[in-house]
């Protein structure tokens, strides 16, 4: 399956992925509605995007009481808006923090791989996000460990 591979070393923190994602998902540029989210490391000297891995369990999908989350042909777990009642159970079932609730629409929302052409990967100018055939894995841990030593030593974000 094609997955969103994250290469955090290449991320410059330009946030184009967040803009592209929110535009694709909601039709307007609003990073708060993006489902890929860039975090700073080491006092804003480096950055990394984080999003849903489309995990094998699909914790959000199995938790939904009304079957509102399905697997798309691209292999993404996606919320069917007409079915979602907005109960938020998926947001506590997902252990990755990658499914969100939109207080304006009263629906859950998450990465659906844009139907097989993810806007974030297309927008990233440095190929820090690439959409390719790969085994999904923890793309950020090594990078985050290495880039957090100062934070942990001085004790403040």
């Amino acid at each position: 399956m094609k997955v969103l591979k994250i290469v955090p070393q290449k991320c410059t923190g330009c946030l184009r992925c967040e803009l592209a994602c929110s535009y694709m998902q909601t039709g307007s540029f609003q990073p708060a509605k993006s489902v890929i989210r860039v975090s700073p490391y080491e006092g804003h000297t480096s950055y990394a995007p984080y999003t849903c891995t489309q995990c094998a369990e699909g914790w959000c999908m199995t938790a939904c009481p009304v079957g509102a989350i399905t697997i798309t042909p691209a292999g993404a777990k996606d919320v069917v808006d007409d079915r979602c009642v907005g109960c938020k159970l998926c947001t506590i079932a997902c252990p990755y923090g990658t499914i969100f609730y939109d207080p304006d629409t009263h629906k859950a929302f998450k990465c659906n791989l844009c139907g097989g052409a993810p806007a974030c990967a297309e927008a990233c100018p440095t190929a820090a996000i690439v959409y390719e055939e790969a085994e999904t894995c923890d793309w950020l841990a090594d990078f985050a460990v290495e880039r957090s030593t100062r934070l942990l030593a001085v004790g403040g974000p």
Binding site: Y50, E57, P65, D138
Partner: protein, 442 residues
């Protein structure tokens, strides 16, 4: 001869078991379903109450789906007694059903205190579809609704009552609201928030009787003023439906005691959901959670085992989330362990609160309260669940979280939580899309 599976109860646990058996065996076995009600999801009833969904939306399977899954049904029939030695179930109409293995998933029912007037017209429970219909018929804009009880279930229907234009008073015998969902500081924050949003809350008041009063209900308390209500909702607790198992020899405590395969003391009788007293994934102790995710996981694990797989269950995580007037209130795991080391963080200006409970450098429980519009609230809800669920060691990040309880994300990522979580599945294989019938999907 194909295996004969008997599923008793068509709620969350029962339906997940049936679906999983069919995912595993493609229709090879015989499945019989006995259920007092049609299959539906109780926990979405609040959205039917406020009419954001149609009644048809609550059903999780139709007659056509069940036929498609080759399930023989006895809907509207109750299990009356189980002969666990003879492998037969007797129904309330006297019919008997033989099985090779069976799942007891009869859920809970709402209970009311035994005070005079508790069964008067206009006094309702909100647990079944039938009861939801009655409440819907009884509420109009401007109605005064008195909710007796300030627990989790009461809170799940609070937004709906307000959005119908009713006035709401909550009365609670305990000194504070949400006693089993958040700690005292969290409860204070939620209490203040609700008062600010026009909900009247009376805590520490003991209801002694309800009287009919010219088309209304008058509530009398041990002390203080009386209340006049158009409609009373008794959210005063639930009890597992186990009475019919008396004399079956199945071992029970608060619920049916089950092993790590959800088998009761009779090895071919499984139990799941609100009736099961199964392993808590954090404490390891047997417990009745009476929550949707536990019922769902129990049902799926039972289904896989019934279908011949050997699937051990790691235990369930107690968790709840409820939104009241756009404030999210959530808790996980052993948030109420009085012996645990705990860090708290409060941002009064945002009505945000955190509590993180520890065993060494592992997170064992958490409370999270914050405005639904605050992006980091929902973000952290999931990550805190992940940390408790995975039980990763946080090392130096523990100290970071003591100082910055609202800065969960870097701790989550750098503790390799994703790596720990990715291989985990409940059934030892990827989950499938929940197959819903076209008739239900609309």
């Amino acid at each position: 001869m194909p295996a004969r599976h008997l599923i008793i109860g068509a709620g969350t646990a029962g339906l997940n078991a049936i679906r999983t058996i069919r995912e595993e065996d493609g229709g090879a076995s015989e499945i019989t379903l006995v259920a007092a009600e049609r299959p539906y999801s109780r926990m979405v009833l609040p959205y039917y109450l406020d009419r954001s969904i149609a009644e048809s939306h609550v059903f999780t399977a139709t007659a056509a789906t069940l036929a498609n899954w080759k399930v023989k049904t006895h809907i509207g029939k109750k299990a009356a007694s189980l002969n666990a030695q003879g492998n037969t179930l007797t129904l309330d109409d006297g019919a008997t059903i033989e099985y090779d293995d069976c799942l007891v998933a009869t859920g809970s029912r709402a209970i009311r205190p035994s005070i005079p007037g508790a069964d008067l017209p206009g006094v309702h429970s909100f647990w079944t579809l039938e009861q939801a219909r009655e409440v819907i018929a009884g509420i109009a804009p401007g109605s005064h609704v008195v909710m007796v009880g300030a627990g989790f279930i009461a809170f799940t229907i609070l937004n709906s009552i307000l959005s119908l234009g009713a006035k709401l008073t909550i009365v609670e015998i305990a000194p504070r609201i949400l006693p089993r969902m958040v700690d005292e500081r969290g409860a204070l924050l939620v209490d203040a928030w609700l008062r600010k949003h026009g909900v009247r809350i009376l805590t520490g008041v003991a209801l002694t009787r309800i009287e009919a009063a010219r088309g209304k209900r008058r509530l009398r308390f041990r002390k203080g003023e009386t209340l006049l209500a158009d409609l009373v909702i008794m959210a005063t607790g639930i009890k597992p439906n186990l009475d019919w198992l008396e004399g079956s020899g199945i071992r029970m405590n608060h619920g049916i005691l089950v092993d790590d395969h959800l088998r009761s003391s009779a090895p071919n009788v499984y139990a799941g959901g609100d009736v099961a007293e199964g392993k808590d994934g954090v404490t390891g102790a047997p417990v009745v959670h009476a929550i949707e995710p536990t019922a769902m996981e129990h049902g799926r694990v039972v289904g896989a085992n019934m279908a011949g797989r050997d699937v051990a269950y790691r235990g369930s995580l107690n968790m709840n989330i409820v939104e009241v007037c756009r404030l999210d209130v959530a808790s996980f795991g052993a948030w109420d362990d009085p012996n645990a080391e705990a860090f708290t963080g409060l941002r009064p200006e945002r009505s945000a609160y955190r509590k993180l409970c520890w065993s060494g450098d592992r997170l064992t429980g958490a409370i999270i309260i914050g405005q639904a519009a605050d992006v980091w609230t929902t973000n952290d809800v999931g990550m805190l669940k992940g940390l408790v669920h995975a039980g990763v060691r946080l090392g130096a990040w523990k100290e970071h979280l003591r100082r910055h309880p609202f800065d969960v994300k870097p701790a989550f990522i750098a503790s390799r939580t994703t790596e720990a979580l990715l291989p985990q599945t409940i059934l030892g294989r990827p989950s499938r899309t929940p197959e819903l019938p076209a008739t239900v999907i609309r």
